[in-house]
């Protein structure tokens, strides 16, 4: 038994190394005083971060990404909230079928969505840019939001809403005093999650953005110039830290004050 445990422990170490070592190289080289990503490290520097902060094209790309991310996360969470409410509260006709239909974008390859959207959008004679990117991100994020919200709302006790009505609240009061506060952690989690998904989405943005670059596109563009590589690494390191914080926050919020005693991990992030 002892031996077997040792092997499993070793396996776990290898597994985590496999998962995180490549990613960890980014921050390491972002502090390295050299243009090329090769060992041995040359010396500590913050100049790549300085370069990153002073790049105006990067700022524009960042702002584009934030704009797209905020709008996409709000819309997809709103759409998913209504759908999740319907699925958990009412007997939806053809439940399995419509559930599958809503979650389908999940499994359709992104590139297929991208191609069909670009055909549709240009076919309608519309200009490519951030608008179609945002729309495609709403489409792409909604299933994720659905999973987060449905898993929360399935544990939602319908009696709570009935109890509120029984105690004198009308539908509006019941929503604001009971439904909304109970769903709030999941709503916030859904917002954060969809923002992160939109923020680092590449394929849809690549096809639909035209001149307005989002951050991932900017980074991809910079990789062609070896001199620009280090400050992309610095940017990458910052994004890793920021996204991890947001995702952890989302996960923590989703389970916060969960109505059931057992924290649900089904349909997780």
């Amino acid at each position: 038994m002892y031996n077997k445990n040792n092997i499993l422990f070793f396996y776990a170490i290898v597994y985590f190394a496999f998962l995180y070592l490549p990613v960890m190289l980014l921050p390491v080289f972002s502090f390295n005083d050299a243009i090329h990503m090769v060992f041995p490290l040359k010396g500590f520097t913050l100049k790549w971060y300085d370069q990153m902060i002073h790049s105006s094209r990067l700022h524009r790309a960042l702002m584009n990404s934030v704009k797209v991310g905020v709008i996409a996360s709000i819309f997809s969470t709103f759409i998913a909230l209504l759908a999740a409410k319907a699925f958990t509260k009412y007997k939806v006709k053809l439940r399995q079928l419509s559930y599958g239909a809503i979650l389908l974008p999940f499994v359709i390859p992104e590139i297929i969505i991208a191609v069909s959207l670009i055909v549709l959008w240009t076919g309608m004679g519309l200009q490519l840019g951030l608008v179609p990117v945002t729309i495609s991100h709403i489409l792409f994020c909604t299933p994720f939001c659905m999973l987060v919200l449905i898993s929360r709302m399935e544990g939602f006790d319908r009696n709570l809403e009935e109890a509120a009505m029984d105690l004198g609240e009308n539908a509006w009061g019941t929503f604001w005093r009971v439904t909304f506060p109970l769903a709030l952690p999941a709503i916030v989690a859904s917002l954060l999650l969809s923002f992160v998904i939109s923020f680092d989405e590449f394929i849809l943005a690549f096809f639909l953005s035209s001149q307005d670059q989002t951050l991932p596109l900017y980074m991809w563009g910079q990789l062609r110039f070896p001199k620009k590589l280090p400050h992309v690494l610095a940017l990458g390191a910052v994004i890793i830290v920021a996204t991890s914080i947001i995702v952890m926050l989302a996960y923590w919020l989703r389970n916060l004050g969960s109505p059931s005693d057992k924290k649900s991990n089904i349909g997780g992030i």
Binding site: N159, L160, E162, A163, A164, D166, N170, L182, G257, D261
Partner: protein, 362 residues
């Protein structure tokens, strides 16, 4: 309408698609009564309660509370409050805010509000629990908070949907007693839904036994036990023996009956729907039968049998006695088991005619 018709359920039916959950029910419930709806799961008792609360709209019929037709009134405007089966304590707010949840519309001052909450907590003996959250309470405490939250609204009717179902046996028995005392002291009409006959019997002024959407009998507990009006009620409440019987003759309130293997006897009945040659059932409670080792006739009927089985319940023992010619053994209960009454031994059963009830089959 008088206090006897404080709540009036009139021709109420409820269909869910093609399933009839509640089938043309008529009941009057008196002011201050502890009224129970008793029946197996799926009998429509909870649906009927939800119709009273306003969560279900009846397919037909109407509901009156205190002379007011509430059929079209939404739950938030009805003079009823409900204690839910799982208590439905709001998990995101503490006990105090749970209890004052329903008082928002009453526009009370802070002192009045605090006083009402304190009184409610005192009533359910949970003073000092104001700041707790639902997940910091035991099942019994949640149940009390749900009760306090409903009663603080001072409703005309309190509806209880199997509120003791989730508690363990000891606590349940304690709460039965407490609930009954509480109901007496506040004087509010309680309508209590349960599938547990013991619960219904120990607490209620009257019990309505339901099955398949219909009310089969409404009686005080004692009467329900002593004079079941039909097979289902007799069988559902306590233990009972049914014997196939034929009516030979009817003279006034005396029915001459031929009970299978027990012979021809004259029984007193106040049922005037009986007819000659009708095939009926005679019901005998197991505790009314006297079992003995010796063949002595100390009552109207004495019959020989063989003990097929015994089961011990602490305060009493059930003895199953096989009678030749009867397919089912007769069940006898006694607190006094002598040595002779063992498996496969002969015994004699004495039955008084006054303990035999006539039940029509229909």
């Amino acid at each position: 309408m008088s206090d006897k018709e404080f709540i009036k359920i009139k021709n109420v039916s409820k269909n869910f698609e093609d399933v009839v959950a509640v089938d043309n029910i008529n009941v009057d419930i008196a002011r201050g009564e502890f009224f129970s709806l008793l029946g197996p799961s799926g009998c429509g008792k909870t649906t009927l309660l939800r119709i009273l609360a306003g969560f279900e709209y009846p397919s037909s019929g109407s509901v009156f509370i205190d002379n007011l037709d509430v059929t079209d009134i939404t739950p938030n405007l009805r003079p009823t409050n409900m204690v839910f089966q799982n208590y439905a304590i709001f998990p995101h707010i503490n006990v105090k805010r749970n209890i004052e949840f329903g008082l928002r519309k009453e526009k009370l001052s802070k002192d009045e509000l605090d006083e009402r909450v304190q009184n409610a907590l005192k009533m359910v003996q949970l003073e000092g629990y104001e700041d707790r959250f639902s997940n910091q309470l035991s099942g019994g405490q949640r149940q009390r908070i749900a009760l306090a939250r409903a009663l603080v609204k001072q409703p005309k009717v309190l509806l209880l949907d199997e509120p003791l179902g989730a508690l363990d046996k000891k606590l349940r028995e304690e709460m039965q007693l407490e609930l009954r005392n509480l109901q007496r002291s506040v004087g509010i009409t309680f309508i209590f839904v349960t599938h547990d006959q013991e619960e219904a019997m120990t607490m209620s002024d009257r019990v309505a036994v339901m099955n398949k959407g219909k009310i089969l009998q409404i009686s005080p507990p004692r009467d329900l036990y002593d004079n079941p009006k039909n097979l289902f009620v007799g069988d559902f409440i306590g233990q009972i023996n049914f014997l196939d019987t034929q009516i030979v003759k009817i003279e006034g309130n005396i029915a001459k009956v031929l009970i299978n293997k027990l012979g021809e006897h004259e029984l007193v009945t106040n049922n005037n729907n009986l007819s000659q040659n009708e095939s009926i059932v005679c019901a005998i409670r197991p505790e009314t039968i006297i079992i003995s080792k010796t063949n002595e006739k100390i009552s109207d009927i004495c019959i020989k049998g063989v003990i097929a089985n015994t089961s011990f319940y602490g305060n009493m023992t059930y003895i199953y006695v096989k009678i030749e010619g009867l397919s089912k053994p007769i069940m006898v209960s006694t607190s006094d088991v002598h040595d002779g009454l063992s498996h496969n031994s002969d015994c004699y059963l004495n039955i008084h005619l006054k303990d035999i009830r006539i039940i029509q089959k229909n």
